[in-house]
């Protein structure tokens, strides 16, 4: 089979070719894993042992160290998916839809964690687990979008076609998320006087900012690690499926 005859014009598409990706990403897994573990260790040490209580939030500030990174990842992962959707639609890049498929469940889990920690933060702060606050609500909608995309991935048999169709859905979702955010905020101000969630901003003291940044780094590294593993798995899975199909075809013609 003359598979790889198409010329590879530049270094990027050479590196991003699935076979090449498998070759070089292998050396990424262990360094990423070690870096992730180290930054989690440092981050947790800061979070529990080496940071003071916040004068407003008290010890609850420690929930922020897991809440904020997950909230950040819930959006970063969607950004990664939107970029890979562009890669699928514009350049028909074979790695792009793999990246989209790999990222969707990760994004869903991080978003769910952001909601979970947000609810635990909200109980002592607002007196309720769930508040129809603008940020919480749009995060919930984001989770629904992730789940829809995962459902769509599972519904398709032809993964190549699925990749391009889901890229369209991902991009439409990306265009819609700001609109949803805006409408939810608008709706929120309509129904309650002011948003409670105005604490935590750039005026945070360094003692709180440091663990927060380290934990964000740790979670981002975790995402990168899982994303690389999942992309490798997905490429190999497609290869395995192609091989067994070919074997079936050969068996049929013998």
């Amino acid at each position: 089979m003359s598979v790889d005859t198409v010329k590879q014009p530049n270094w990027f598409s050479r590196l991003a070719h699935p076979g090449q990706f498998l070759a070089w990403s292998r050396y990424l897994v262990w360094p990423l894993a070690i870096a992730t573990l180290l930054s989690f260790a440092v981050g947790l040490w800061f979070a529990f042992l080496n940071s003071p209580e916040d004068y407003q939030m008290g010890d609850m500030v420690r929930v922020m160290y897991v809440h904020v990174p997950n909230a950040w990842l819930s959006q970063l992962v969607y950004g990664v998916m939107a970029v890979s959707a562009l890669g699928t639609l514009v350049w028909r890049h074979p790695l792009a839809d793999v990246a989209n498929k790999a990222a969707a469940p990760l994004g869903a889990v991080f978003t769910a964690l952001a909601l979970y920690t947000g609810a635990l933060w909200g109980r002592p702060t607002w007196g309720t687990f769930w508040e129809w606050d603008g940020r919480m609500t749009s995060t919930l909608v984001l989770l629904l979008i992730y789940l829809g995309i995962i459902a769509l991935w599972r519904a398709f048999d032809d993964q190549l076609k699925a990749g391009r169709i889901i890229a369209i859905v991902t991009l439409v979702g990306a265009l819609n998320i700001p609109i949803i955010k805006f409408s939810v905020d608008w709706w929120n101000t309509l129904h309650q006087p002011a948003s409670v969630f105005t604490a935590s901003g750039p005026k945070m003291p360094v003692s709180i900012l440091t663990p927060l940044l380290v934990m964000m780094l740790a979670f981002t590294l975790l995402f990168a690690l899982l994303q690389v593993i999942r992309m490798r798995t997905e490429i190999l899975r497609r290869r395995a499926e192609t091989l067994s199909r070919q074997a079936a075809l050969q068996g049929a013609s013998r």
């Binding site: 598979v3 198409v6 075809l249």
Partner: protein, 224 residues
């Protein structure tokens, strides 16, 4: 069957002998070069090259599953080609006829035909004349759901007549047609070629063409 059986290798084809002198209705030149199409990971054909002059017919032959229908869909611009150039195949310059009729059972025969005439351009025969031409002239008021499959196929052929387009892509056009229908199909193709039209036809039957000049045959999957 080996994996590479769909692999055609380079295949240069040009209509060598001039077909019957053609009227100047249209002068299409269909030219395909370096066409490579993949279904999933399976390579159907690579580096396929051929040209058709006005009045030319290309017959696609080969066993089932070899990619005849896919080639037609690629020429029709529906399946994406991995590589290669297609010239002379404007979206609005071609008719596709395949196993799916695009006809609605709840609409009458002439409503169906009028619809496709409106969609594809009313530059061919009138609806009644086209129905007469394919031998279902009296059935215009009948709901298409009551037609037999042979009659449906004739109605599909009438769709090609109400809007004149230079390129016909036909997938098993004689399926469900009786002997008289096959003669009719040959006559319609002859008339189409006399006006300068081109046809690419995937078929297992021999077409009953009046004039064999300019008819080329492309055998797909011949390596097996």
């Amino acid at each position: 069957m080996t994996l590479a059986s769909g692999h055609l290798g380079s295949l240069g084809m040009a209509a060598m002998n001039q077909p019957t002198p053609v009227s100047e209705a249209f002068q299409p030149h269909l030219s395909v070069s370096g066409l490579t199409v993949r279904r999933g990971e399976r390579l159907l054909f690579a580096e396929l090259t051929f040209t058709l002059e006005p009045g030319g017919v290309l017959l696609l032959r080969g066993p089932n599953g070899v990619g005849k229908s896919t080639l037609l869909l690629t020429l029709a611009g529906i399946v994406h080609a991995e590589a290669g150039t297609l010239a002379g195949l404007e979206r609005t310059e071609l008719h596709l006829l395949n196993y799916q009729s695009g006809l609605k059972g709840r609409l009458t025969v002439s409503e169906n035909l009028k619809f496709w005439q409106a969609m594809n351009g009313a530059n061919g025969l009138a609806v009644e004349a086209a129905l007469d031409a394919v031998g279902i002239g009296g059935l215009g008021g009948l709901e298409a759901g009551y037609l037999s499959s042979g009659q449906l196929r004739r109605l599909s052929l009438a769709r090609l007549l109400v809007s004149e387009r230079p390129v016909w892509l036909l997938d098993e056009p004689s399926a469900a047609l009786d002997a008289e229908g096959e003669t009719l199909l040959g006559r319609l193709l002859d008339a189409h070629r006399r006006r300068g039209g081109i046809a690419v036809v995937a078929t297992h039957h021999d077409l009953l063409l009046g004039d064999k000049a300019g008819v080329e045959t492309l055998i797909l999957g011949g390596a097996a």
